[in-house]
């Protein structure tokens, strides 16, 4: 009987959290599109999310591209490896690895920071102070982060794609001895608009997920330092899981026809 009660409680808690998150998402979206928009805060977040994430995202991309080239060279040895490697690298980077790896890295870096900052503001009553100063916390804290993340992630992914493809090119040409112009032509021939477009749509979606999870967990954190720590962990874990889930959903929508 206790087991059944436990399952019931878990199910009710799940429903409560889902409803709570849905209401938060609706409020975040609504405040992101309605004026007033805090331009200065959006620019600050754009710099934080986009510019300062470049090194970590760039490093991830270059090594991913290099590894992809090495691995696919091994796999395609004897099967027109030169064009196959270029195709695998460029399609994997633009369709999948670019947006997913950038999303996961930014979730770790930015999602955690958002949850920690907003969580600290919650437990030190700074969010209550915003309300008493006639400022809507959704408008001031959540909307700028959501807008900036949705804009910054696709921009990051464009750079990320380019660096990843360049990493594959470096290994293919200087390590595996491929012809550089053949490699570039093969990459160019394999690439379609939908490959890049799907990656950018994924990036914008992941940006929304990262900001939403960071803000939601921070906004609802309770109980001092421990609560803020928990919110930070939850923000990164939930954003990472949702990124992988939505990656499948979007891939199915774009390519599974």
């Amino acid at each position: 009987m206790n087991f059944v009660a436990g399952v019931g409680r878990l199910f009710l808690a799940f429903l409560w959290h889902t409803g709570h998150l849905a209401i938060f998402t609706a409020a975040a979206l609504s405040h992101s599109v309605r004026p007033p928009i805090f331009g200065r805060l959006i620019v600050r977040q754009l710099i934080e999310i986009g510019y300062f994430s470049l090194p970590v995202v760039g490093l991830t991309a270059i090594f991913t591209g290099m590894v992809l080239a090495l691995q696919s060279h091994t796999g395609f040895a004897g099967f027109a490896a030169e064009s196959a490697v270029a195709t695998v690298v460029v399609l994997s980077m633009t369709r999948e690895l670019g947006p997913v790896l950038a999303g996961l890295m930014v979730a770790g870096r930015i999602g955690a920071a958002m949850a920690a900052e907003i969580g600290t503001m919650r437990v030190t009553e700074q969010i209550d102070a915003l309300v008493t100063l006639s400022t809507n916390p959704y408008k001031y804290l959540v909307a700028p982060r959501v807008i900036a993340a949705v804009v910054a992630l696709p921009l990051l992914v464009i750079v990320d794609d380019a660096i990843g493809v360049f990493g594959g090119f470096l290994v293919s040409v200087y390590n595996l001895g491929y012809n550089p112009s053949t490699y570039i032509n093969s990459s160019w021939d394999a690439l379609k608009t939908v490959d890049v477009l799907s990656g950018l749509v994924k990036a914008a979606t992941f940006g929304f997920i990262i900001a939403l999870m960071g803000c939601y967990n921070g906004y609802n954190s309770r109980g001092g330092a421990q609560g803020v720590g928990q919110a930070t962990t939850n923000a990164v874990v939930s954003a990472s899981i949702l990124i992988l889930t939505f990656d499948y959903v979007l891939t199915a929508l774009f390519f599974n026809r």
Binding site: T124, Q126, D128, A129, V131, T132, L133, S134
Partner: protein, 257 residues
């Protein structure tokens, strides 16, 4: 007392889970009056003022400001109402990411759409009112001592010249001299503004100094309300025990939550 009180609470109830925190709080506070609610930790003092401010929603009961019901008020009407309020939080709740003058000017710029230059001028004037020079305005909150942070928080609470100011444990965590300085500043600022003040504290020295009338909250109810001078002559055993800080008496402190 004028016909319409500035604040009227009637039969406020609020519970968190199974625990009732407010169990029928009723009070009337006249315009220009300084009303102090005393009571032990966890007695519902903070919840009472957070309900008046709209930061918490009471489960039942009525809160009128200037004769207008405010429970359930939202949107533009709530925004208009919030402009009447100023609040000094227990821990200051200063925004770490903003300089001192920006903290003080925050409500003017964001809440009242005042030009930044004009708001800065007003912020520096208000800082001077609480005994802080213009040089302090350029500092970050983390660079200030506890007493200075309280003064800045007081300046922020009064900068927009609110009609009602709430003080949440204004002297907690301060040395006795600084606590008395803050008490004097509160009395001076409230008088200069002609505002209504609602304070919650367990510091009896502070309560005597800043209050015209006092109420004691215990078990979620206001068990005693009277003039400040009457606090020492009442035969209410709960008030007697609290005022004299005795462990023995009808008030049993909860050692478990």
């Amino acid at each position: 007392m004028s016909a319409i009180p500035k604040i009227r609470m009637r039969d406020l109830h609020k519970r968190f889970g199974a625990k009732p925190v407010l169990d029928g709080v009723s009070a009337e506070i006249a315009a220009g009056e300084s009303f102090v609610i005393i009571g032990g930790s966890g007695s519902g003092k903070s919840v009472t003022i957070k309900c008046i401010l709209g930061l918490l929603h009471p489960d039942s009961g009525s809160i009128e400001i200037d004769g207008i019901e405010t429970v359930g008020l939202h949107g533009r009407a709530r925004d208009e109402l919030m402009r009447k309020f100023g609040m000094l939080f227990q821990g200051g709740a200063l925004f770490d990411s903003l300089r001192v003058w920006e903290n003080v000017a925050f409500g003017l710029i964001q809440g009242r759409r005042m030009e930044a230059a004009k708001a800065r001028e007003r912020a520096l004037e208000t800082l001077a009112q609480v005994g802080l020079g213009a040089d302090v305005g350029a500092l970050w909150p983390a660079e200030l001592s506890g007493g200075m942070q309280k003064r800045v928080a007081l300046a922020r609470a009064i900068a927009a010249r609110p009609e009602i100011i709430f003080f949440d444990e204004p002297t907690t965590g301060l040395d006795p001299i600084m606590a008395d300085v803050i008490n004097d500043l509160i009395v001076k600022c409230v008088k200069e503004l002609g505002a209504t003040a609602v304070s919650i504290t367990h510091d009896m020295h502070s309560a005597r100094k800043i209050g015209d009338r006092m109420a004691m909250i215990y078990g979620g109810k206001l068990i005693w309300v009277g003039r400040t001078a009457e606090i020492d002559t009442t035969d209410n055993p709960y008030v007697q025990q609290f005022v004299h800080g005795r462990a023995d008496g009808p008030i049993r402190m909860e050692v478990r939550g």
